[in-house]
Symmetry: C2
Subunit: 221 residues, 2 copies
């Protein structure tokens, strides 16, 4: 079984809940931190001692507070930990339930398990630990169906940037000029109009304002 497990979670009552639950079911050594940067320090220290963490359980979002953070989110943390020690297994444990976002986390940074916070998630964390220990992937069952049913969506960074610029109040003409100045391609007003039209069809939006509202609700921007 795993021997050294690191938990990164900012909410203290969740930290306490996870640790209490894991101690009932497993025998491994558990450490827990509230800041991603502290997690990185622990991982580095463990590597120096030749006793690396073989499992990381991390939340996705970490509230900013008075401390300046270099790493501020669970996906960034996972990316760094996998760089430092590629054999480490990563289980993400978050309230996030947007299928596309979660699916992408398996690709990049390359997590091994995802448990959606819920009424039975303590039991799911245990199953996730057992599953990723066997080198299999784990996904909360409440998400599994949703993710398999999600249509292939070819929304790329350009599209997100475009909608974001609209949401920030820029006119299409201004966006075109900015894209041209920055070397973002394509940059013509017409192309922007056509791309926005495609996005509206895809998201079933009636106009640009509606599109921005839908995309915000989906959490893509």
């Amino acid at each position: 079984m795993f021997r050294k497990v690191l938990i990164a979670e900012d909410i203290d009552s969740i930290n306490l809940g996870i640790v209490t639950n894991l101690k009932k079911s497993f025998d491994f050594e558990i450490a827990h931190v509230k800041y991603c940067d502290d997690a990185i320090l622990k991982v580095k220290k463990a590597l120096l001692e030749a006793l690396p963490y073989d499992l990381l359980i991390t939340d996705l979002s970490f509230k900013p507070d008075h401390r300046n953070c270099n790493i501020c989110s669970g996906d960034e943390l996972a990316r760094e930990v996998l760089k430092l020690h590629p054999p480490t297994k990563i289980i993400m444990y978050s309230i996030e339930d947007r299928p596309l976002k979660i699916k992408n986390f398996f690709n990049e940074p390359g997590i091994h398990g995802y448990v959606c916070k819920g009424r039975e998630s303590a039991r799911e964390i245990n199953k996730a630990i057992e599953t990723v220990y066997k080198n299999e992937y784990y996904l909360s069952q409440s998400l599994d169906y949703a993710i398999k049913g999600t249509p292939v969506m070819e929304i790329d960074d350009y599209d997100i940037r475009l909608i974001n610029e609209l949401a920030n109040g820029l006119l299409q003409d201004e966006i075109a000029k900015n894209f041209k100045a920055e070397g973002v391609f394509p940059a013509s007003l017409s192309s922007i109009e056509k791309r926005l039209n495609k996005l509206k069809i895809y998201f079933k939006a009636k106009n640009s304002t509606h599109l921005v509202a839908i995309v915000k609700d989906l959490g893509l921007i």
Copy 2:
């Protein structure tokens, strides 16, 4: 001190964390539920036994799942509990940190304390319990400044409805027609244009799309 405390929280690891923490610091009887409807049943049962809950600690949002729920959120739960047993103190414990929303909860349904989930919130829950026991109000310190700093905002239901209709993709002309048909006043296109202009000035939005984005970020719609 309080004698019977009810905790309503859907995430099991948070439930476990809160209960574990409270047992370290207090001596009262603790019950916990994952569904608001179950909380109501417990409150009613306790009233029948003439041993009512004198404190409720509740989350704000409860994930919908396979069960059909009559009461689906912490504010609805608080409202019902205060109807059933007005002396019960209510502490809300949530990830929500939008100042206006939280401020409103003190007015309606009339909560007595609010703790924002965070790194030190276990300690804050304890302070909140002691504070509301003394018939004082408790507010997470991280919010206190933000709430006091919030300007008086003269946005009324009409404004919210208007922005919401835009966010739902309706044209200004369509909104005018709908308002006229429903007897919403004022309903002319010109008045809607002028009201939107005022809102844009108030929120410092460059256009209607920007306005919708800002208002969504603020959590007003």
